[in-house]
Amino acid sequence: DVKVTQSSRYLVKRTGEKVFLECVQDMDHENMFWYRQDPGLGLRLIYFSYDVKMKEKGDIPEGYSVSREKKERFSLILESASTNQTSMYLCASSRGQARTEAFFGQGTRLTVV
């Protein structure tokens, strides 16, 4: 089974903290994605990566950065967490071909207080 693992299911951080959300996939997928999910807004793409060290901004990259030093790991970084970044964060991975299925992690519910 394909597995996409996010490091935490629930996380509480303070305003101004630097926050790392980690995602690891075990199927040698080329593409990895970070989304945030908010009620009524669906899944909004923050960043995605199509290869090691390669990244592209999604629709809402402000306040976030990413790192992909190894093919299996894609990290989302909140440089200085703010309360409006309280959300559900979902990581996904897929093969490089566009027709292929994306596999998702269980999500991280992040609360910034």
Binding site: G42, M54, D59, G96, A98, A102, Q106, G107
Partner: protein, 115 residues
């Protein structure tokens, strides 16, 4: 940029009945893929069905089928013989042809199945 719109935030259906969830998208491309994903209360997203834009035939997976209207940029999901386990958030998604392309989702439709 491509956009995906789901205009029904919530839908409900009686068990064993049929329900249709709507999705429209905007793109200038001719080659792309469309998907429906399901997110149950467990939060684990799973693929329901996929449609290739170059195929005229509508995709079908058991009780799930799509009505793909390329000219109208419409991609609806029909669930037949609804079951309690179908209750979930359903997301429509778009991905353009080519490797390394982004995967864009709609706002989602929360489906309730009434016994």
């Amino acid at each position: 940029a491509q956009t995906v719109t789901q205009s029904q935030p919530e839908m409900s259906v009686q068990e064993a009945e049929t329900v249709t969830l709507s999705c429209t998208y905007d793109t200038s491309e001719s080659d792309y893929y469309l998907f429906w994903y399901k997110q149950p209360p467990s939060r684990q997203m799973i693929l329901v069905i996929r449609q290739e834009a170059y195929k005229q035939q509508n995709a079908t997976e058991n009780r799930f089928s799509v009505n793909f209207q390329k000219a109208a940029k419409s991609f609806s999901l029909k669930i037949s013989d609804s079951q309690l386990g179908d209750a979930a958030m359903y997301f429509c998604a778009y991905r353009s042809q080519g490797s390394g392309s982004r995967l864009t989702f709609g706002e989602g439709t929360q489906l309730t199945v009434n016994p």
